[in-house]
Amino acid sequence: MNLREVWAARELLYFFVWRDIKVRYKQTAIGAAWAVIQPFMTMVVFSLFFGKLAKMDSHGLPYPIFYYSALLPWMYFSGALQQATSVVVDQQHVITKVYFPRLVLPLAAVTSGLLDFAISFLVFVGMMAWFRIKPGPALLLFPFFLLLAVLTALGVGLWLSSLNAIYRDVRYVVPFLVQFWMFASPVAYPSSLVPEHWRWLYGLNPMAGVIEGFRWSLTGNGQPPTLLLAASSAAVLLLVIGGMFFFQRMEGTIADVV
């Protein structure tokens, strides 16, 4: 496992991320606004239907805060996943001509999503001010949850990326997968909905740990989601390590099949 090589190629990683971001924003009219519109509008719809009308539990948080704090990592995850899945195939014209550690590609894919994340995060800060919610000391643990989110995207992305290089229809399955996954994650509802003795199983969904972690550290609301977190972290670790091995196995022949 040549991680040293990947570290040596960190400048290239920077350039790939830089390129993705530049190209994405070069010729768009909406551009940066899209990073905000998506989570914001989803939050509005959720607040209206799940919140106001269905009156679902939000643990005392105002509905917009409850949903947006979950949509923040979710939008990042779903975007990063799409990018990571198709990056290897999309970059075939480069892969077949130059050697660089191929791991750089999915790494760049999950990194470039962080810019959009940062922009929508700023909106969240504004919302917190609006609702006059002050985060507690748990905020210090927020970087950990962000890292967990990135690792989740990376872990799943590595698997999907490798699979997509071999089976070309995988990228079309991803939007459906993400939809389904969202409802399996505590985005529209709190994880307390899940009965206590099943919660560890629920926690194997790494996004469950991420989302509850985001909610808790950003709003200071409720208890630290330790059980969920333990299960999620274990799942992420397995996903990332397994994903790296799988990706490396695929790497050798990628130039021939892509």
Binding site: Y14, F15, R19, H93, V94, V98, Y167, T253
Partner: protein, 412 residues
């Protein structure tokens, strides 16, 4: 203390060809698994050593050593395995068997403009492409002005690349690549870009890199380029290394291989193959006033061809045009079925050629696109006729502007 920088040991590469299912779809795999679950776990059948109809060995058992500072020209016909060899050495693809050991930083130029993106400006693309090729940001910054000057695009460096002409794009791409300074450089036929001026500049730069003591592997079809830059050579044929020697010897062996030695395939769509002049032996000593007859052998490809027109040009050994005959002037068109060997007989009445060696250029087209263009075909040798007992007395005096000519086809 060896200074071997590249050692290849029994490299082989097998590719699947033919009717392969292009891309697997997950649903197909699942469907197959449902219907025959045992098959998922069955071991693959052992492959036959020569490859069956679905496999070819692009490289077979290739071993060689390359020393520090060697400039090696790798030549061979299309399909001999040159690009595959470079790809394996560059770690772009893995060999099926064998291994290659490379010591030192390697830069590869398999294509011009790797990583270029139309939406970014020239400046941004220089950084992107440089990084992809392996240069550090500091290195690119340092060489930036040189690169732009080499490409002669200073005025346009901040315009998006999609507004560049193809020539400008190629020049910029090559400029970036030319400033790569790896210890080992692999170059795959990328010098065929740009106009003559630029090609000369590129060759010069490549030559400088060689002089600096770096190791270069240079794949090229252009034998002049290869001989200009390289000192030693490697001849590949059908996936094997056939000759490893000094470059002029390797070039000679390569030319001896071709059915039409020295001839240049300029355009080859794969629909028609030129197989040589079948009566070349009789054209070895012709007199200036002789009628000339050239019998050219062709073979059509997998599709029948229609409305073919053929143009001939005879050049002297200073590469000057001497006789030019277009089949359109005779209203000669011909059609051939698929996979058919046939001969085109080109007769020129008494062209009164000056003594010397002549080469033929053949250009086959169907009115819309060029199908085959081969030049530098060794055509005939015209001997001087002694006048008043003095050979060569009237050399260079003979000429004929528009000799009568005829073209006809004969199916083998």
């Amino acid at each position: 203390m060896s200074d071997i920088v590249i050692r290849a040991e029994s490299l082989s590469k097998r590719y699947e060809i033919g009717e392969r299912q292009n891309y697997l779809a997950l649903r197909d795999v699942i469907a197959r698994a449902m219907s025959a679950p045992a098959r998922l776990f069955q071991a693959r059948k052992p492959q036959s050593p020569n490859g069956d109809a679905t496999h070819i060995w692009a490289l077979k058992d290739v071993s060689f050593e390359i020393h520090q500072g060697e400039v090696v020209g790798i030549i061979g016909r299309n399909g001999a395995g040159k690009s595959t060899l470079l790809k394996i050495l560059a770690r772009i693809t893995k060999p099926t068997t064998g291994y290659a050991d490379v010591q030192g930083r390697m830069g590869t130029l398999l294509e011009v403009g790797t990583g270029f993106h139309g939406e970014l400006t020239g400046r941004e693309n220089v950084f992107l492409s440089g990084a992809i090729l392996g240069m550090s940001k500091a290195e690119i910054l340092r060489k930036f002005d040189e690169i732009v000057a080499f490409a002669e695009v200073e005025k346009f460096i901040d315009t998006p690349l999609k507004h560049y002409s193809t020539g400008m794009q190629m020049r910029l791409a090559f400029a970036v690549a030319a400033h790569l300074e790896p210890e080992i450089l692999l170059v795959d036929e990328v010098l065929a870009v740009g106009d003559i001026q630029f090609q000369k500049k590129c060759l010069g730069k490549m030559g400088n890199v060689a002089k600096q003591g770096r190791t270069i592997l240079f794949v090229s079809h252009n034998l002049q380029h290869a001989q200009a830059i390289c000192r030693s050579g490697m001849l590949l044929h059908a996936g094997k290394v056939v000759r490893r020697a000094e470059i002029s010897e390797v070039v000679r062996d390569y030319l001896a291989q071709s059915p039409y030695s020295g001839a240049n395939q300029r355009v080859d769509n794969g629909v028609l193959a030129f197989e040589g002049i079948s009566n070349r032996a009789q054209l070895g000593r012709v007199a200036p006033h002789d009628d000339l007859e050239f019998r050219l052998k062709f073979c059509s490809g997998k599709a029948p061809l229609d409305n073919l027109m053929i143009d001939f040009a005879l050049h002297n050994d200073r590469n000057e045009f001497v006789v030019h005959s277009k089949s359109r002037l005779l209203d000669f068109r011909f059609s051939v079925p698929a996979l058919q060997e046939f001969e085109i007989i080109y007769e020129v009445k008494s062209p009164r050629l000056a003594p010397g060696k002549y080469t033929l250029t053949v250009y086959v087209h169907d009115g819309r696109e060029a199908l085959l263009w081969v030049d530098n075909i060794d055509a005939c040798v015209v001997n001087a006729k002694p006048h008043f007992g003095v050979p060569g007395l009237f050399d260079g005096v003979y000429s004929s502007l528009l000799p009568e000519f005829s073209i006809r086809a004969e199916v083998a």
